[in-house]
Amino acid sequence: MLTGAQVALESLIREGVDTIFGYPGGANLWLYRYLPDYPALHHVLVRHEQGGAHAADGYARSKRGSVGVVFATSGPGALNLVTGLATAYMDSVPVVAITGQVPSTAIGTDSFQESDVIGSTMSVVKHSYLITRAEDIAPTIKEAFHIARTGRPGPVLIDFPKDLQAAVTAFNYPDAPVRRRSYPAPPRPDPAKLRHIAELIKGAKRPVILAGRGVLIARAEEELAELAHQAHIPVGWTLLGTGAFPVTDPLALQMVGFMGAGYTNKAVCEADVLIMVGMRCDDRVTTRLDSFAPRVEHLVHIDIDPAEIGKNVIPHVSVVADAKVALRELNLLVEPKREHQWLTQVDQWKEEHPVRFTTHTGLLQPQQVLEAMYARCEDEAIVLADVGQNQIWAALWFNYSKPGLFLNSGGTGTMGYAFPASMGAKLANPGKTVFCVTGEGGFVMNMQEMATMVENNIDVNVIILNNSSLGMVRQFQDDFYDGVRSAVDLTFTPDFVKLGDAFGMKAMSTDRLEDVGRLLDEAMAHKGPVLLNFNIDPNANVYPIVPLGMGMLDFVEAS
């Protein structure tokens, strides 16, 4: 017989968990009482629950197939997870959050640190459970992990009352695979539809593929490459699909949409057959909806989530299936072909609209920092980006050739995501160099995790692209809100070298291009976390960009 807390910890081990990010409090103390008895579970004490949720997210994203785990106590502890859960939910990241709850007998009495966590998180989790009986603990955890990692993955929350953590019960971990009539496995792709798509590809004069994060989740990048190479189809991607197709491939386009490459947008707008795989087609992809792929004759959408089919863009042919299975079976039907004229046209657009930046101010440009980073690690580093200009720069100025190397909060756009998530990424991938690219605004939103980084000596290179302002907002205000700069000045930001010093974290700063390489070399040679502050051109902007309310072809490029 074991206590409920022990049953939960045993269950986590059965699910292959090795790392937990968490924060103790009154309602989860029984879990923490027994945690030291399970050395197989490495607990990382974060300094804020939001950091824990993002760290679990970064862990799961960077180690495909794994599930990130975060612990929090009841009330404020659990509520601090909400943003992190929402981030994981929008980007389909498998995370299991176990929150302490007041004793089941006290639920509903407004007792100390009680909150309705199930209700508060309902719209930002894939599913949630309130444990009501000790014998349910093991089956619930098993089902929670199954739901988090299968189908379209997502976060699952388990609310675990304190009395049930202490209750004594038998431990029987269910052997049988989870089967729930209301949660069936994803369907097999419809062979007739795949044959139809193969015919469309055969007849296409101007085919284009767009790949989203679904390709990465399904680990379908090889199948995607095979399809592209077999039929010589140019491939673009969404922000979250970055890495699904090698940037260096001759058939590679670039990111699509609002801040995508001009040549990708041109190719999408000219395409007669557009094949979208594992993507949501949100407003950042389509820009103004009626400008998206206006010449397309056959729009194909492959996604595991039927609710994504026709949500924003109505396809002519849709396949609801796992991207890997669908592409593998499609590849058996696709005949080799090559539309020379189309590929020549696409190459011409690539020459006409290169992704470029200007350096005429003489000040350090963010792209120069990213180029120097890339030169030092090529395709071997994991790059996490925060939200804002740094996110788009990192997406466009690092040549991701391998899958799963670029992580960011694409859907929710959570500032403060990258720094704690990079802890998770490094702990999940101890052998890989990890860069956290962030701005001075987003970094301070979760900078308390510096203590966690230093305590656990997590070897992350934090790159702050510091433009003393909320750069993306500033750029929008300059260009779309009458040029009125309002509440974007971040001149009052800490001295990051002194801040690093205060936390015991190695920190360096420069505003000179000639120092960039030396600082990066020093940071990468250092075993442990390093903070590099680069004071960049405060007026550096993200280009290309489609002005708000405009269409895909209205992109503005760097002058």
Partner: protein
């Protein structure tokens, strides 16, 4: 163009399911006209009958989003199918002894029942389509409605019509379900039509 759509949803009979369903419909920006929930012959399953006022594409999106909820077993858009969609209404009418005969006649025409009689009021029960209930209420209005409670629509499809199945999923490793699900029901049941 929006219209009333009738969704018949089977859900796991678990705490919080109603909130999940209602919250999903609200979050996606749809309005619920009516929602009723109750047990089925299987005590692990409840049936929700939901009327939403939306366009066709929105309705498809609403049903797909609902189907994603882990507790939702099946969801059928039965709008436009031949179905029995009934509501129950209880109306407390002002009914001094002298005016009761006229009321009773109307109740008889609508195949209603008097379920409570007091000195100056009666409670009338009528079941049938929402339209029939609306008509009955309009007829009752001049006599002085004191209180009124409607149940919301519950519905089943008539006969052996194939349902519009939005989610025909295969269970692990099984072949996809190709046969449309069959419904129980008695063909030609016309109870309640006026």
């Amino acid at each position: 163009m929006t219209q009333s759509r009738l969704l018949s949803v089977l859900v796991d009979n678990k705490p919080g399911v109603l909130q999940r369903v209602a919250s999903m419909i609200r979050r996606r920006g749809f309005n619920i006209d009516s929602l009723s929930v109750g047990p089925t012959d299987d005590d692990t399953i409840s049936r929700m009958t939901i009327t939403v006022h939306v366009g066709r594409q929105q309705a498809e999106q609403a049903t797909k989003q609902l189907a994603k909820l882990i507790d939702v077993i099946t969801i059928d858009d039965i709008t436009g199918l031949r179905n029995v969609a009934h509501e129950l209404v209880l109306i407390r009418m002002q009914a001094p002894p002298g005016e009761r005969t006229e009321l009773l006649n109307l109740v008889g025409i609508f195949r209603g029942r008097i379920v409570d009689v007091a000195a100056s009021s009666v409670i009338i029960e009528v079941t049938g389509s929402a339209e029939k209930i609306d008509n009955f209420i309009e007829l009752m209005r001049p006599y002085g409605i004191k209180e009124l409670a409607r149940s919301g629509v519950v519905a089943l499809v008539r006969g052996d019509q194939a349902r519009i199945r939005l989610m025909d999923f295969a269970i692990d490793g099984d072949e996809p379900q190709t046969e449309p699900a069959r419904l129980q029901g008695v063909a030609g049941d016309t109870t309640g039509t006026v």
